[in-house]
Amino acid sequence: MAVAAPTINEAAPAGRKRIKITRTLVFSILFVAFGVWLILGAINTLTPETSTLLTFGAGTPDLPVPTQIITLISGIYYAAAGVICLIMAQQRLRTILLLIGGVLLIPVIIIIAAADASTNVTTLLSVSLRLSTPIVLGAMAGIWCERSGVSNIAIEGMMLTGACNGFVVFTILSPNLATGEAQLVGVIISILSGGLMSLLLAWLSITYKTNQIVAGTVINIMAVGITSFIRREVLFSSEAGRGTLAPWPIPVLSDMPVVGEIFFSGRPIFYMMFVLVIVTHVMLYFTRWGLRTRAVGENPRAADTLGVNVIRNRWINVFIGGMIAGLAGAWFSLETTGSFDDNMTSGRGFIALAAMIFGKWTPFGAFAGGILFGFSDAMGQRFQFLGVPIPPQFLQMVPYVITIIVLAGLVGRAQAPKADGVPYDKEGK
């Protein structure tokens, strides 16, 4: 029976075509919907006279933008891109279209939000970059730890401890030392306290092979308790609002229009962010230590059989990561506010982890992720200035929605280092 089978040498797949719900499909439909919404919105609520004034700071001409036309054009782009993605099978084209759509979202939202008003783009970008400092630094801390195979969810706690201890030492020293010197000591203390907390993580999770999520959580909770206690005992009486780290405008470069304000008028820890991103990248991919670190994070046994000391490698990487997290802490208290409040890091350590995953555990990827989240903070503030008639909480969500789109729609599944979070047991299997 059933002799009418296909010939045996048939090479082509005879599988039936079935509609699969893929990421591209979902995002294509979302794009079409969003595009249609923009077009309708542009026609119904905006008039041809509506314009958005984009300014770029002193010494540069302002740029008026016709809001309705821009909205219409971008609406058409989203609808068309969505339709093309649905019809065409070419994966490369789809990716490019979706990527452009993702990037375009940011200017479109700014222009719509500032309709009939003006907004300073340079300031927005400079604030974004400044606010991304602790996130990027925290992500670098995460990369050092996780690339060697230790999950670090305690970045938040390490930051908080760094912020508190550095500031406390600064407060104690400032009556006797020049402000700059006291601040320098404060920053060093921040770095060391972050490192000290990381040694606790290393001790628990590398030497005692405790579950790393539990160890990290313990450190986070402990940090909240200890820093609140220190604040009440030491800082309560002393007056708040001390000076912050002085800006270091870089000569000549800081005078350049737009770029000067964004990149070259920052404070020390802000610059350290760029330095550390580059250092981390070079370390990981071009040095002996980096090669060994990546091997230890992926397959510690392989590294061990070649004579690499897995345990030592992890201890040192976790310690360095902790120090970077401590530096990120100093950004909050010493560089930005000149004070210390309970729980002042408010979840940035966790956002840093998200940025690290966003960047697939690579320094530049994590840097991009950090900037995206920094931008989210900056936009949230800006929307409130502009008095957009949507509750600010919703507007603050927009960048996170962008993140979800980028993460789920474009970046795809992030692959953690294989041995991330797995304690190494030398004689075990």
Binding site: I8, T287, L291, D304, T305, L306, V308
Partner: protein, 542 residues
């Protein structure tokens, strides 16, 4: 211990090169002992390796081969005994010490970092540097290409290891050892993961290495290979050296006996089958694989009670998908599967199990057990909800324990206890647990997919006997195996699967190696015409 050296005189014959192995052995181990909690893994083991020879180290799983090699390579510390390299006693604290003494090891499970390039993998630990900080990949790359050219180990130094086939990954492992200037190479079960062609390639490389003066310890439990490549064989059993053999005068049978410690029947003894009524009927079954391609193309198949139908075929011709469709792990696209006339097409695995089906899955660790569960719990994976193992909503721990104790004894599972997680057992014993669980239920149909893959001679013999016993009790047996020897020695009827269909079905007395081999390649020889599945006739030469 000295009588083991009686063969010393003639081992030089096959070791090529001018420096015949007289004089000081390059590696000598004496009285090496290692104890693990509850186990004496190595009991005063001694061996000598001479320059330019291949020493075979033969033993069943758990005989202590890997432990011995891990001590020589510094991964474990011996409790007693001495290691000498070129006559000098050495203490090897870790892999670094072993590497610096010229010892290299290719582990059974490759120790590679998949996401790194070949160059990075090779130089890891002994990196070429530019200055004090930066890696010098160019220099490392050049040395790798030199080594590759010198020993015929073709590999692209810039490829990521994860993109390489297994055979090439193994070459990378060998290059790793040579890069560190190893002249003593330990190969731990190097052929376990290779296809026969890849294994031949490895033997070629080994011969080149020997010609260049490298000495090799070759660990295996595959008798044929040991006979083919080794100059001398030492046999380990239960942590002890039990004998030494000369491959030129030994046979598979004599080696197997030495290894297992008793007479081993390599040829399975079985009486003629007495097939009865149809148990399994597969009609026009179409199944797709994970990528959505048709893997099984309108396949028909019948298995009768009291017979073993062996499905031969090169792996990847749809065997996996066929078995998964029959056992309910994969939904077929169309067609029917009947067990005892009852339609079970696309039913959940539990229904099919309850219809009297036993399944020894191809990937035992993935589909056959829960690695972290105790042996006792794995023994009741399909029956835990039934009497006597469960009363209302509570499990009956006593019944489960009693069942496990009984099966462990009956099936000779070597485990520290019934509460040991199954993941801690050796592969052979894990398989025995699965076999015990499946075979202890009253079965109408037994589906055994690659039942002895990766097992040692003793376990293979045991499992073969059990399969035949199931047949004699009246079960229908569907055996799927990539080992042609296994198919030919167990089956009553041989079906050859090719490109998603059964190309021919032969009674066992017509199925010789040559005919089945041709059929596996998709060619129907003239004398097998009458057994070919009708539709395949006109395309068989295409």
């Amino acid at each position: 211990m000295d009588e083991r050296n009686v063969h010393r005189g003639d081992q030089g014959g096959s070791a090529s090169g001018p420096g015949s192995p007289v004089g000081i052995p390059v590696l000598e181990v004496s009285g090496l002992t290692k104890r693990f909690p509850g186990v004496l893994a190595n009991d005063h083991i001694s061996l000598k390796l001479h320059k330019g020879e291949v020493l075979g180290l033969l033993g069943e799983n758990g005989a202590g081969k890997s432990t011995l090699m891990n001590m020589i390579y510094g991964l474990y510390q011996p409790d007693e005994g001495e290691i000498r390299v070129n006559g000098k006693p050495v203490t090897i604290h870790g892999p670094n010490d072993a590497i610096s003494r010229g010892i290299g090891m290719v582990h059974q499970h490759f120790q590679l970092v998949p996401v790194l390039s070949v160059t990075d993998n090779v130089m890891l630990g002994t990196e070429s540097m530019r200055g004090r900080i930066f890696l010098n990949r160019g220099a490392a790359r050049k040395r790798i290409l030199d080594i590759a050219a010198q020993y015929g180990l073709e590999v692209d130094p810039d490829a990521l290891v994860q993109d390489l086939p297994v055979g090439v990954q193994q070459r990378v492992e060998i290059i790793k050892a040579l890069y560190r200037r190893a002249d003593i190479l330990i190969l731990d079960e190097p052929t376990a993961v290779l296809t026969p062609q890849e294994a031949e390639g490895l033997f070629g490389i080994m011969r080149t290495l020997i010609d260049r003066g490298t000495s090799i310890i070759f660990i295996s439990h595959k008798l044929k290979e040991v006979l083919e490549i080794c100059d001398r064989v030492q046999v380990l059993r239960l942590g002890k050296v039990v004998g030494e053999a000369d491959p030129k005068t030994s046979t598979e049978h004599s080696l197997a006996e030495l290894m297992v410690g008793r007479d081993v029947v390599l040829q399975v003894e079985k009486s003629p089958a007495h097939p009865k009524d149809h148990v399994l009927d597969v009609n026009s079954l179409v199944v797709t694989d994970d990528r959505g391609l048709t893997a099984v193309k309108s396949l028909n198949l019948q298995v009768r009670a009291g017979e073993i139908l062996g499905i031969a075929g090169v792996q990847g011709n749809g065997q996996t998908e066929l078995v998964e469709a029959i056992t309910g792990l994969r939904k077929p696209v169309s067609g029917k599967v009947l067990i005892d006339g009852k339609d079970v097409t696309g039913k959940p695995p539990r229904d099919i199990t309850e219809a009297g089906t036993g399944h020894v899955p191809e990937d035992r660790q993935k589909n056959g057990m829960v690695m972290s569960f105790a042996v006792r719990d794995n023994m009741v994976l399909q029956t835990y909800y039934e009497l006597p193992f469960s009363k209302s909503i509570l499990r009956d721990e006593k019944a489960i324990d009693a069942n496990a104790e009984h099966l462990v004894k009956q099936y000779d599972v070597r485990t520290p206890g019934i509460y040991t997680p199954i993941g801690k057992l050796s592969g052979g014993n894990q398989q025995k647990v699965i076999v015990a669980r499946e075979f202890s239920r009253p079965l109408r149909l037994l589906i055994a997919a690659q039942p002895t893959r990766g097992l040692d001679v003793g376990s293979i013999e045991y499992i073969h006997k059990q399969i035949i016993a199931m047949r004699d009790q009246g079960a229908a047996v569907l055996l799927v195996s990539a080992e042609l020897d296994e198919i030919l020695s167990l089956s009553d009827t041989v079906a050859v699967m090719y490109a998603g269909n059964i190309i021919a079905t032969l009674p066992i007395d017509k199925a010789d190696r040559n005919t089945v081999g041709l059929l596996m390649a998709g060619v129907v020889p003239d004398h097998a015409r009458e057994f070919a599945t009708p539709m395949t006739k006109e395309v068989s030469h295409g």
